[in-house]
């Protein structure tokens, strides 16, 4: 774009933010130059938000410096940052829907006259700002009457009031459709050409490639590097984000043994055009007995959303499902359970275990719920089931009366698995069953998944760790931007192939 690189308007050097004992950011550098759109990339938890907060004064760095316009700063908060030309627009629009567009734009910078507000001037100034955004709306209309996209643009408009040198956009496109995204990009480009430095955070790789000039990649709170967008193939970016080189991924051994599926077998669960607005685009998927189907994709690509439709956790608004060839509506988890479909959520604490109950109660919960409260499982049968799974899964402590909240993450996960295995499901959908647990427990759960499939169960396996998915899956469905983009055979799949699909193929 420009031949000579202008000096950065924002320079973060060696910024470290600690939430003891965790280092959320560890010596990260970031350089924003005027007149560029700079993408900040990384998976969830990589430290993107923390970095933005360190810059705008929400978090105070324990080490490192923040230099804005050549002066070292420690902002006291977003308002202070804004006063010095660093404005932030967050993912969810933080505006007052009940106020007018003009009031929202000029909030905090209202023109005054005789100790009161100068309403006419306010509207006039707001109109000027709106025109710059290419927005043709009445400044006197109430904000709530406009679409989310317009509200987003108003939020950006508000951020650029006054002397805005740096504009931070955190996931601005997540709730916009294609045309609206295009409009936003037009605005971003025009702001860039006016010399504003824009920091752009997005999960959508296509968008990042379309609009950004340069990018900084973070992983686990550390800086991976700064790259010129045009010089970095998408596949390489994905590798930087997930943090494994091709060689390491390729080395992962295959444990999935192929049990030949008879030709013409009926899928256990077949879905056609299943979808939910704002959640995941319609997709087809066949799930067979004895098969592990892996779901691969970046966080936010729609893996969990897909799983929730398969299991009735969310209700689909389009498409149909067939269980063993028979059309079925998966209305809620209970109907899905009735068809032998079990689902463990990725949110183990929030949607999985009941931490105030005992191991015993947690294990029999689903089985008991299925029977209804009036037919309690006989105590002897309960003890038998609980003892069997504690033994089989190696749950520690091996005490049925231990409160679940006193167990480690890995053991909680095993209890959750036991709860579903006790219902003897035919299809088991596991969303991130190995996240946040130690290596030993992880290996045990992987082994268990392979064994269950070998025993004839159909398993859907979701993990952010590509190597795990590759190793366990017979088939892999790849998701990108809330859409199922490909389905490949797990046997012959190479990591490069999957990474390519995740990154969007052509972009490389």
């Amino acid at each position: 774009m420009t031949q000579q690189t202008p000096p950065p308007v924002v320079e973060l050097t060696g910024v470290t933010v600690e939430f003891p004992p965790v280092k959320a950011l560890d010596g990260v550098d970031l350089h924003l130059r005027p007149g560029e759109i700079h993408a900040l990339m990384g998976e969830n938890g990589a430290g993107k938000s923390t970095l933005i907060k360190a810059l705008t004064g929400v978090h105070t760095p324990t080490e490192g410096t923040v230099v804005v316009d050549g002066v070292e700063r420690r902002f006291s908060g977003p308002a202070d940052a804004r006063a010095h030309g660093v404005s932030t627009v967050y993912q969810e629009v933080n505006l007052c829907e009940n106020l007018t567009v003009a009031e929202n734009i000029m909030l905090g910078a209202e023109p005054r006259v005789l100790g009161g507000l100068h309403w006419r001037a306010m509207r006039r100034q707001a109109a000027t700002h709106l025109r710059r955004m290419g927005l043709d709306i009445d400044p006197a209309s109430s904000l709530g009457s406009h679409s989310l996209a317009v509200q987003q643009l108003v939020a950006i408009c508000r951020a650029t009031v006054g002397d805005c040198k740096v504009l931070i956009l955190d996931e601005p496109t997540s709730s916009l459709d294609t045309d609206e995204v295009e409009h936003l990009f037009t605005v971003m480009r025009s702001l860039r050409d006016d010399g504003v430095a824009i920091l752009f955070v997005s999960h959508f790789l296509d968008q990042v490639y379309e609009v950004s000039d340069r990018m900084t990649v973070l992983r686990n709170g550390r800086l991976v590097g700064e790259y010129v967008t045009a010089d970095l193939p998408a596949a390489e970016l994905v590798q930087h984000m997930i943090g494994r080189s091709m060689d390491v991924l390729e080395a992962a051994e295959e444990v999935a043994e192929r049990t030949e599926r008879p030709a013409g077998a009926t899928p256990l669960l077949q879905v056609l055009g299943l979808g939910r607005k704002g959640s995941i685009q319609p997709f087809d998927l066949d799930l067979y007995e004895g098969e592990v189907v892996g779901l691969a994709g970046l966080l936010g690509s729609g893996r969990t959303e897909l799983a929730r439709l398969l299991t009735g956790a969310d209700r689909a608004d389009t498409g149909q499902a067939r269980v063993a060839g028979r059309p079925t509506r998966l209305r809620n988890p209970r109907t899905a359970m009735g068809h032998g479909i079990a689902y463990t959520s990725e949110d183990r604490k929030g949607e999985g275990v009941v931490d105030g109950l005992t191991v015993r109660e947690n294990i029999v919960l689903a089985l008991q719920a299925e029977r209804g409260w009036m037919r309690p499982l006989p105590r002897r049968q309960v003890d038998e089931i609980v003892a069997r799974y504690i033994e089989q899964l190696g749950i520690r402590p091996a005490d049925p009366e231990a409160l679940l909240r006193n167990l480690s993450g890995g053991n909680q996960q095993k209890v959750l698995l036991a709860r579903w295995l006790a219902t003897a499901p035919r299809l088991l959908v596991l969303d991130e069953p190995t996240r946040g647990i130690d290596v030993g427990a992880k290996a045990e759960i992987q082994k268990l998944v392979a064994d269950l499939a070998a025993g004839g169960m159909s398993v859907v396996f979701i993990s952010a760790e590509l190597e795990e998915v590759l190793r366990l899956s017979h088939r892999i469905a790849v998701l990108r931007d809330r859409r199922k983009v490909a389905e490949i055979d797990g046997e012959g799949a190479s990591t490069a192939q999957v990474v390519d699909l995740i990154a969007g193929g052509g972009a490389a």
Partner: protein, 352 residues
């Protein structure tokens, strides 16, 4: 001894014993029970009788609180129940006929069940916050009772109905036999079936329970309906005691006493784990406390203050944080050195 101290019922029971001791000191014959005409008489028996309506209301309240809810409407339901039953009796040609009495009781209970179902509908189907949903009936219910009684205090004479309030069964006050009987039956059902566990799961983690196939909505609906029914029964006991239906004052503030009984009994308002035996002790503590005020001759001016102080003391002793601090102090002074910190909620609770 240590296990006794750690038991979740220790402090409520200790409070109850302390109150009884205070009463006995003030009036040496306090605990004496005499037999007259084959019936038991004495202050402890009176306490059982006055506990009865509160116990029923607190029973429903415990189940509702277990699902993270609260039912503020029980006082109004008590008033509605009494109003319906007594107006029925008053309108009948012979208020003492068994058929009339049974119909009045049946009608009152059915209506209260419907009111409970209404609360359950607002909370479980419409998703209105329990405190708001039941607040509607809390205020509207007294209006309904007022309509039924026509704004008057309906008084009736009906010997069979009066038995519910001041009669005796098996030598004990009928109200107490009924209330404790219902309480025991419900406690048995809750712990013998899977109802208790499913209620607790719903209260602790509604999202996880739903994904596990628990019919949380039906369960929630059921407990509000039950709470309405039990409050209706309590209303019958109260109105049968006075034989007057007072739409404004019957069951006034009983919802607060019931919530208090639940809390004193060690069930947290945040829902989840609940403790019916604790609620029983809690209801007894409150009834005894009211009695103590008269026995000690405490001036009506300071009665609310006195009651508040006792309640604060019991709830503080119940609170996990205070208990931990208490244990820590004892550990420092060497009396409890080998014991781990108290974990009050780690005890499995069986009610009854």
């Amino acid at each position: 001894m240590r296990d006794v101290l750690r038991h979740h019922l220790f402090w409520p029971v200790a409070a109850l014993v302390a109150l009884l001791v205070a009463n006995t000191v003030a009036r040496p014959g306090f605990l004496a029970i005499t037999v007259r005409d084959g019936h038991l008489f004495g202050a402890p028996i009176d306490i059982l009788r006055t506990t009865a309506p509160l116990l029923l209301v607190a029973l429903g309240m415990t189940l509702v609180i277990a699902t993270r809810g609260i039912d503020l409407s029980v006082g109004a339901v008590v008033a509605v129940s009494g109003a319906v039953a007594l107006s029925q009796l008053a309108a009948a040609p012979d208020p003492a006929a068994p058929g009339t009495v049974l119909r009045a009781i049946g009608l009152a209970l059915v209506l209260c069940l419907v009111l409970g179902v209404w609360n359950g509908f607002l909370v479980s189907v419409l998703g209105i916050q329990p405190i708001i949903a039941t607040l509607i009936l809390m205020t509207a219910g007294r209006g309904v009772a007022m309509l039924i009684t026509g704004g008057m205090i309906t008084t009736v004479t009906s010997a069979p109905f009066k038995v519910l309030g001041s009669g005796f069964w098996l030598g004990l006050p009928a109200a107490a036999v009924l209330a404790f009987g219902v309480f025991a039956a419900v406690a048995y059902v809750v712990r013998r079936t899977a109802l208790g566990m499913l209620l607790e799961a719903t209260g602790i983690n509604p999202a996880a329970s739903r994904l596990s196939g628990v019919r949380s909505r039906t369960l929630t609906w059921t407990v509000y309906a039950a709470s309405g029914l039990f409050a209706g029964l309590a209303g019958l006991l109260i109105s049968a005691d006075t034989m007057a239906a007072d739409a404004n004052n019957a069951g006034l503030f009983i919802e607060l006493d019931a919530i208090l009984a639940v809390v004193i009994g060690g069930t947290a308002l945040s829902g989840g784990k609940f403790n019916l035996s604790g609620t029983l002790v809690g209801a007894l503590v409150i009834a005894t406390l009211e009695r103590t005020v008269t026995v000690l001759g405490i001036s009506p001016l300071v009665t609310p203050l006195f009651m508040a102080l006792v309640v604060i003391a019991v709830t503080l002793l119940q609170s996990p944080r205070m208990r931990e601090r208490f244990t820590a102090v004892r550990r420092r002074t060497g009396t409890g050195a080998q014991r781990p910190a108290a974990r009050p909620d780690s005890t499995e609770v069986t009610a009854g």
